[in-house]
């Protein structure tokens, strides 16, 4: 049970800063997920916490104790790598016990810990196989087991599931979640897969270009994205962003390029008439014609995607790309014009810099 606190952490490679002045508090027992596009610094941040990389400046504290200069081996953290990083020349059992043997743990202690990990992860059938004789999922289990036997204060996962096929990914996800429930350890998990982030995290940290864009629960991140980047990053299909201009047309409206206006209501002085803004709406919040409330538009369907439970339509509204996700079978064909409406209480407004605008009021 360890809390982690980063203060003013910077990481610079050459002249290029990969992590900028990062402050972050992670509570004890929390499951934190770092997400962001590749190159956002999420893995570097994880490696800084692990002690695999040296911070350029700033401090890292575990339970208030400064570990900034502590080598990785002394931090009592364990990491699961995307590539599993199993030693190819050792059997699964040897892989599990390697670290403990090297650091001089008594044999009975090692046996006890390995046994526990084997039980938890159901590894007994392939303990004596080498990694090359194991499937990807089995390898990943061994890798997790290896972290487990360390009995670390903090578990770190670096995209552990991205080499697995879809089905396995889902079941392993569940196992990791179960593991967290059982161990109740602090876990930090890096992924670029927002579904994993949403399903696993207590809190999500969204990163871009070495900076934190937003920290929050999955719900907060999804429902109240702080900016266009976060909004676009989370959710599939991607959120629709429509460009517009604030106009005073007998009330404050956003006039979307080539489209009808959307009432903007009273914004607490955040925007002024004439400013560019963007309006976001999640594809699943778009209502089909018959139930449409608020502004109505017409979308030209380019292409249709079946996703079992529902159907995604990709197309264009005016000049902008547009996506809708409906929880029903296919009704429209490519080339169709679909009438849609935007539920105004589902709209997100962002200013010209992409930052979320203050509380929105809808017109009754």
């Amino acid at each position: 049970m360890t809390s982690i606190s980063l203060t003013g952490v910077n990481k610079v490679y050459g002249s290029e800063a990969v992590v900028h002045d990062m402050d972050l508090e992670i509570a004890s027992g929390e499951f934190i997920v770092f997400v962001g596009p590749s190159g956002c610094g999420k893995s570097t941040l994880l490696r800084l916490i692990a002690g695999l990389e040296e911070v350029s400046s700033g401090n890292i504290l575990f339970d208030k104790a400064d570990v900034t200069t502590l080598p990785a081996g002394k931090r009592e953290v364990a990491m699961v790598f995307q590539s599993y990083a199993l030693y190819p020349h050792m059997t699964a059992a040897q892989n599990l016990s390697f670290g403990l043997r090297m650091t001089g743990h008594p044999a009975e202690d090692i046996a006890r810990r390995v046994e526990r990990a084997v039980d938890m992860l159901r590894l007994e059938d392939y303990l004596h196989r080498k990694p090359s004789q194991l499937s990807g999922g089995q390898c990943q289990r061994v890798a997790i087991g290896r972290a487990l036997v360390q009995q670390p204060k903090v578990f770190l996962f670096d995209e552990p599931l991205s080499n697995l096929d879809a089905e396995l990914r889902v079941s392993m996800r569940a196992e990791i979640a179960a593991l967290h429930r059982e161990l109740d350890n602090t876990m930090i998990y890096v992924t670029h897969d927002q579904v994993e982030a949403m399903t696993l995290a207590d809190r999500i940290v969204v990163l871009r270009n070495g900076r934190i864009e937003q920290v929050g629960t999955p719900h907060e991140i999804y429902r109240r994205p702080r900016n266009v980047f976060v909004a676009e990053f989370m959710g599939y299909p991607k959120i629709n962003i429509l460009q517009g201009t604030v106009v005073d047309d007998g009330g404050i409206f956003v006039r979307l390029d080539s489209m009808a206006r959307i009432p903007l209501g009273v914004l607490s002085g955040a925007v002024e008439v004439g400013e560019k803004v963007s309006v976001g709406i999640r594809p699943e919040s778009v209502s089909p014609d018959q139930q449409a409330r608020g502004a109505r538009f017409e979308m030209l369907v380019d292409f249709v995607e079946h996703v079992g439970a529902g159907t995604n339509y990709f197309g264009r509204v005016g000049g902008d790309e547009f996506r809708i996700a409906l929880s029903e079978g296919q009704k429209h064909q490519p080339g169709d014009h679909v009438r849609i409406g935007l539920a105004e209480d589902q709209l997100h407004f962002f200013d010209a810099r992409g930052e979320r605008l203050g509380k929105r009021q809808t017109l009754k």
Binding site: A72, A78, M79, F81, S83, F98, G99
Partner: protein
């Protein structure tokens, strides 16, 4: 760049089996013809050596046109080599020197190569370039200073003096560094996180994974030590400490140069290197200089 999949990078190289099936019998035949023709070019000169070594005392070994097949082939010359010289002593000396030099070279080169491949520290590039540069200067120039140094260290006429120039070679460091570069970082990092120290990682994680390169280096070193002539010549006075090349050189006596003996001695001295090569060929072929190009 996606992180490499560790498993696949270490899987045994599978020869192109599927293509193999497509090779028709005539193509197979053609392939063997080419293989044999090329082999003739490589083995041809050795036939003369062998035929000379197997000619009996009554045969003119210099006649023209050359006789490839001895009239009455004999192994007597090989026996005579053992009679003429304490060949077994030289052989034992060579084996002893080669064994120690090879193991020292493997240990020291891979030790030095590890930080050069995997750690960042001040002076790394300078050290690396210096290492490469030591491969360039001809030995003829370094021989006299080297001998003076060895004499000052009391190494002349000792096995240690014989071994030491081979105990760690720049080529070996270079080779090992290149092969360490191909090992995925995560393997090492995961060990580091478990609190395993660098020396343990080097021994338990890195070395087992570069066995092919180690085998390659072992053979290259073996060939180098086994065939070294100039340095033993200078440093060793005592005939009981002679290595094989010195012994073979001795066969070319001034009072009676017997080419049959010279040839037999040369063959005897080549055999161990061939044995070592055949023995380690598996490693050579599946992993010689694996990834030596990276970085």
């Amino acid at each position: 760049m996606p992180p490499p999949n560790i498993r696949s990078s270490y899987e045994h190289i599978v020869f192109h089996r599927s293509r193999e099936n497509m090779v028709s019998a005539s193509r197979m035949f053609l392939r063997y013809v080419i293989l044999i023709l090329v082999a003739c070019v490589f083995i041809g000169p050795f036939l003369w050596l062998l035929s000379t070594a197997m000619k009996s005392g009554s045969e003119n070994i210099f006649q023209y046109p050359p006789e490839f097949i001895p009239h009455s082939p004999t192994l007597e010359n090989f026996v005579r080599v053992f009679d003429a010289l304490p060949f077994l002593t030289y052989f034992a000396n060579s084996v002893f020197v080669a064994a120690i030099a090879v193991s020292c070279n493997l240990v020291f080169c891979s030790l030095a190569a590890y930080p050069l491949a995997r750690m960042s520290f001040r002076g790394k590039n300078v050290i690396f370039l210096t290492l490469i540069s030591t491969m360039i200067l001809p030995f003829q120039l370094m021989m006299i200073p080297l001998y003076s140094i060895a004499v000052n260290l009391g190494l002349n006429n000792t096995f240690l003096g014989l071994i030491i120039p081979h105990a760690c070679t720049a080529f070996g460091v270079f080779l090992m560094r290149q092969s360490f570069l191909t090992i995925p970082h995560q393997l090492e990092e995961s060990a580091l996180m478990e609190g395993v120290n660098r020396l343990q990682i080097w021994w338990h994680v890195m070395l087992p994974l570069v066995k092919p390169a180690l085998a390659t280096l072992a053979v290259f070193t073996f060939i180098g030590v086994w065939g070294d002539f100039l340095w033993p010549l200078i440093i060793i006075d005592d005939q009981t400490k002679f290595t094989l090349p010195l012994g073979v050189n001795r066969l070319a006596g001034a009072f009676a140069k017997d080419w049959r003996l010279v040839a037999a001695g040369a063959i005897l001295s080549i055999i161990p290197t061939i044995v070592v090569f055949l023995f380690s060929q598996r490693f050579f072929i599946s992993g010689a200089l694996k990834g030596a190009v990276k970085g």
